[in-house]
């Protein structure tokens, strides 16, 4: 029990931030109806095995910088926790993680080729015709 005060201190001290405050992320979908706008909570649900509003999510592989921005801005969970969550979902028969891609080019190609797919991109990415922004992080 001698190390209990040190342990409590560890729990209290703030960890370093890994993502800068001003970086934004666009959530874009391949939709015929370009008027669809979702809330942050609904986007989180789409990418975390919840109700998807008929959309099929696609994400970046773990370790990519844009994924860290998305996790920080939208999902609100550290990567380790997200991986624990998917282990729980997969091995209890609930759901599986979204399809993942390696690069922005791959993401744009996947979204263009799959109707009702939804992914995310760095703020400022020029979007080809057919993709609609359904959420923009502040």
């Amino acid at each position: 029990m001698r190390f209990l005060p040190l342990f409590i201190l560890t729990l209290v001290v703030s960890p370093p931030k890994i993502v800068h405050a001003r970086e934004g992320v666009l959530v874009v979908a391949n939709l015929a109806d370009s008027s669809l706008v979702l809330s942050k909570s609904e986007i989180r649900s789409v990418f975390m095995g919840g109700s998807t509003k008929g959309l099929s999510p696609v994400e970046f592989v773990p370790g990519s910088y844009i994924r860290k921005v998305f996790n920080t801005r939208v999902i609100g969970l550290p990567e380790a926790r997200i991986q624990s969550f998917w282990a729980q979902m997969r091995f209890s028969g609930r759901s599986s993680p979204p399809v993942s891609v390696d690069s922005i080019d791959e993401m744009l190609l996947f979204l263009a080729e799959h109707k009702a797919s939804v992914g995310y991109l760095p703020e400022g990415t020029s979007l080809p015709k057919g993709l609609t922004v359904i959420y923009e992080s502040i």
Partner: protein
Amino acid sequence: MPKYITTVVFIILAMPMTSAIAGTKDELAFSGFARVVGGQLSTNEASYANYDNSWSFSEDSLIALQADYAINTQFSISAQGILHSGSDRDSGLDWLYLTYQPSSSWQFNVGRLRIPVLNYSDVIDVGFSYPWVNAPEQVYSRRIFYSGYEGLNVRYQTHLGNVGIGIEGYWGDFDGEVFSGQEAFEVDINDIYGAVFSLNYKGFQFRSSIARISEVVDNSVQIDQLVGGLTSAGFDELASKFRLDDGLSVYVFGAGYISLDWFVNAEAMSVDSDLDVLSGITSYYLTVGRYYNSVLFHATIARSRQDENSIENTIPVGVSPLLDVLSTSVDTINALFPTDDLDSLTLGLRWDYNTHLAFKTEVSFLKGKEGKTSLFYVALENADFDRRASLYQVGVEWVF
């Protein structure tokens, strides 16, 4: 529900799917998980969670393989087999089910499943999914959570404004034990049903669950012999108190908050039993965790309290040798009743080396009550053991 569901799933597995369902998309995927867990208890007077005074890596270590076969976009079949190294657990096919998912909101699972009473009860073997090496014993040690059931599970999830809502119901045949570590009180359960309700709002999570086991069948030779002896000696009322033929209910409430840096999570459970010999237990845990990138420090307090459950021995002593034997038997069984009062503090660390591999270590300071079982196994010669000990554990969790 008849125990034919697994057979039906097997038949479906064997059917020529591609010709039966139009527009099929064959897809077979394999995944799995494994854990190597070691532990040592600080005392040689007792064992706890099957750990004693020498390091053991065989109690909780396991490897599992899961196969998912997507028949089409709505139907899939999954099987999960687990090999346990622990003497307390049977290896075999733990999950085998058909999934029908007509939309992202609705999901139906039929087959061999596990009951989702607690947040982690159906993934208790998937150590990668929770922060501890050992989920709090006071809440998670009941064997009822480890055994599968054969039946149906229906899930519905939706959004109302910014609130995520999940509702789940299940029903089926169950063949398991109610209480762990007490061989005298083994009972089989033939029917179980329950519901789970969950809410998510921003980082807040609430989860409540109820399960009802409506039919319990006595599986204990020791109890059977006592009940038979009491009945033939005319002590019908006493015999009826020992008879294991009624139901029990489990109530769970959980709440938590999670952010990028830290989380807090708690679950409280109450088991109410209609059986005189298996009276109720209440337990809870509260965990606080702090993330430093891929390293998590966590602290957990947990407590369990079991109702007093001794049955009054009304047999007169010294009247006849037969009655003396019966009276002694009643006292013996009374002494075996679990009295799992235990407080604990667990301090732990989890390091996610990558997205598939995590290393864990933790220490649990255990404080039970003298004269009670307190989730320890104490040999007769160590009856004076003070029910205080520390459990040291290390673990490696792998998902693939």
